[in-house]
């Protein structure tokens, strides 16, 4: 069962789709882990139990802290989203795609045995089995969450949408079964193209898939358009999660939440906020309209 309310983490990393200035201000505000934990504490104490975290250095610190204070966060569950795209983008720009993959895999200390795999028989691992490479990357990023209660592991939207455009079914099928088999949790997919992705996942034979996308009254970040989203939600067998429900502040909170809650198929609402007032208001609105 997916949590009705999931607390997002974009605000901690200076992500604001509306304004670069606001993004900078957020970056400054959440420079210290303590400031982040204060907000997480507010959310947790308000009764929110589920947290979506993009895998990155900040997530590592947050998870370390939560492990060290396990009693305080006994009921907390996690919805990680991977890979940490910004990290890869930087290395890819410098070393190319394979250079970056090689560096990332080899930088992982416990992947020592992989060295052999990479060079075996004069043929690189990339040539022989890209799915194995994908699994290695998943394992590396999942280490951040070791010992914590993970519910769904999401494939981050840039990667999801890029692969969706390429039309490579194997990656989706392989990711889904690996997450299920190895970690015993559900696979999920973040996307900016929800209707197209849902059709594709169903074609891949992934049953009742979990798809997280922007869903808001303004139609913001909903491609190709809001009508297609509404129809897909109504008609297709999948589990939608709604994010960007407030469209970075473009919609009145009441209207925004009412719009999402009016669609009973939507299982969960992911929202991020950085003040006590906003967190509690949004949570109460969701409960009111649900």
């Amino acid at each position: 069962m997916l949590d009705r309310i999931i607390f997002g983490d974009n605000q901690f990393f200076g992500i604001n789709h509306m304004s670069e200035e606001k993004a900078d201000a957020l970056m400054e505000k959440f420079r210290d882990l303590k400031a982040i934990m204060n907000v997480i504490d507010i959310a947790y104490d308000a009764g929110i139990r589920a947290f979506m975290l993009n895998t990155n250095e900040r997530a590592r610190e947050i998870c370390d802290y939560i492990r060290q204070h396990a009693d305080r966060y006994a009921d907390m569950s996690f919805y990680p989203s991977m890979p940490y795209a910004h990290k890869y983008a930087q290395i890819v720009a410098e070393k190319g795609i394979f250079g970056a993959l090689r560096e990332v895999i080899l930088a992982d200390s416990s992947a020592g045995d992989i060295l052999g795999i990479l060079k075996k028989g004069g043929m690189s691992l990339f040539e022989r089995d890209m799915m194995k490479v994908m699994q290695l990357l998943v394992d590396m990023e999942m280490k951040i969450f070791k010992g914590l209660n993970v519910k769904v592991v999401f494939l981050q939207n840039i990667v999801t949408d890029l692969l969706l455009g390429l039309g490579v079914k194997d990656v989706f099928i392989s990711f889904a079964s690996y997450i299920r088999d190895k970690y015993g949790v559900e696979p999920g997919f973040n996307s900016m193209n929800m209707p197209k992705l849902v059709d594709f996942l169903l074609e891949c034979g992934i049953d009742n898939p979990i798809v997280c996308s922007s869903i808001n009254k303004a139609g913001y970040f909903m491609n190709p358009d809001i009508k297609d989203y509404e129809r897909t939600i109504r008609e297709k067998p999948f589990r939608p999660l709604a994010m960007s429900v407030l469209a970075s502040g473009a919609i009145r909170p009441q209207d925004a939440i009412e719009y999402v809650c009016r669609q009973p198929q939507i299982q969960s609402i992911v929202f991020g906020a950085s003040s006590r007032q906003h967190i509690i208001e949004t949570k109460e609105l969701i409960e009111h309209y649900s």
């Binding site: 720009a93 410098e94 455009g165 390429l166 491609n223």
Partner: protein, 378 residues
């Protein structure tokens, strides 16, 4: 269906592939890249496309309608020429070519041919900048007197020698790889300057290329603009473009996500009050049919397809527009040499050691090294 082939399958090539592969009018039939491994993997997982390591062979065998070129800049001219000879429509990543001479020769070659050409200056398809362009044209700002076009990012934070982007010979450096976006945006919004002055190229970390580009654009009609670009600025999480425009009736400050306009008098038609008016991208963003990495990337390629379908050869980001950017970049480089010879720039590394005694000078594509690079693309 438009038959499309890809040349170069790195970060940008893959992004463009993903966008066009989902276009209802486009059939992506073939991909060419110098990386054997990449082509093997692609063949394995994307069975419908044929793969090549020789682009001329691909062009000859596949009867393509268009090509998407995303190779290092020093190979652009050769690949473009091969496509022009075969009457194939061309989309090429920015910048256009290595030198104004190369670009001019290509423009001469395509004269009279009915070819759609486009260069990947994606800012021209950003919703905020498109709106700013319309506002300038509408006259709401009055006479544009002064502007600044800035671009910052944390792209290069150490001396990376491994990438083609860090080498002059392959078309690397902040000017070509980064500032070209900012310079093109300034030309798109304000036109090609009649003169550039006081240009400086500085290095922060790189040993072979510039990391900071600054210059002044001067226009005969009494307009001036400041260009300031730095790709070694860690304060930016993502590359940011900032444009400030001063006109006789008002002022605009814009980035990729929002703009604000200051009006001396209200403009009812545009809905602007006296003083500051802020517009966020959420106010006017339009969805795209398929999103990868940003609306503007889809909009730019869909426009290219649209031009082919409608036989529209007046592309707003076509070769002749991009040639202006190449000419201005060349002028900045030459102007910087003069500025530096006067000792105006402090060209030292953060540790105080000297760097780049002379500003980056574009070598000819026919240098031995770059010819080998082109061969490897084949």
């Amino acid at each position: 269906m438009i038959k499309c082939g890809f040349i170069g399958f790195g970060r940008m090539g893959i992004t463009h592939f993903s966008i066009l592969n989902t276009h209802p009018s486009v059939d992506v039939v073939a991909v060419c890249d110098s990386s054997d491994i990449m082509m093997k993997i692609l063949k394995q997982y994307c069975t419908k496309v044929r793969t090549y390591t020789d682009y001329k062979r691909m062009m000859d065998k596949e009867k393509l309608d268009c090509v998407i070129i995303s190779t290092p800049t020093d190979s652009h001219a050769d690949v473009i020429k091969a496509a022009v000879q075969r009457n194939i429509h061309i989309f090429v990543e920015k910048p256009f070519t290595m030198t104004p001479e190369e670009g001019a020769a290509i423009l001469k070659d395509i004269e009279g041919k009915h070819l759609v050409t486009q260069v990947g200056y994606v800012n021209r398809f950003n919703e905020v900048f498109m709106e700013v362009k319309e506002l300038i044209n509408s006259g709401v700002l009055g006479d544009i007197k002064n502007f600044s076009a800035e671009m910052y990012g944390a792209t290069v934070l150490k001396d990376t020698k491994s990438s083609w982007r860090s080498k002059k010979k392959t078309g690397g450096g902040c000017m070509y790889e980064f500032a070209s976006h900012c310079i093109d945006l300034a030309i798109y919004l304000f036109g090609q300057p009649d003169k550039v002055a006081g240009s400086v190229l500085q290095s922060v970390f790189s040993s072979d290329v510039e990391d900071i580009v600054s210059s002044n654009f001067i226009y005969n009609e009494g307009r001036a603009g400041l260009i300031n670009v730095n790709w070694s600025d860690q304060a930016y999480r993502k590359p940011a473009n900032i444009v400030k425009i001063f006109g006789t009736k008002g002022k605009i400050v814009a980035d990729k996500h929002a703009y604000k306009i200051y009006m001396r008098e209200a403009d009812e038609k545009q809905g602007f009050e006296v003083g500051w008016n802020t517009r966020y991208i959420t106010d006017f963003a339009k969805s795209v049919r398929f999103y990868v990495r940003g609306n503007e990337f889809t909009r730019q390629l869909d426009y290219f397809v649209d031009c082919m379908e409608k036989s529209n050869f007046e592309n707003i980001s076509g070769f002749s527009a991009a040639q202006k950017t190449d000419v201005v970049m060349d002028e900045i480089t030459k102007d910087a040499a003069v500025t530096l010879s006067r000792g105006a720039a402090n060209n030292t590394r953060p540790d105080g050691s000297p760097l780049m005694k002379k500003p980056a000078k574009r070598s000819s594509i026919w240098s031995k090294f770059s010819r080998q690079e082109v061969e490897s693309v084949r």
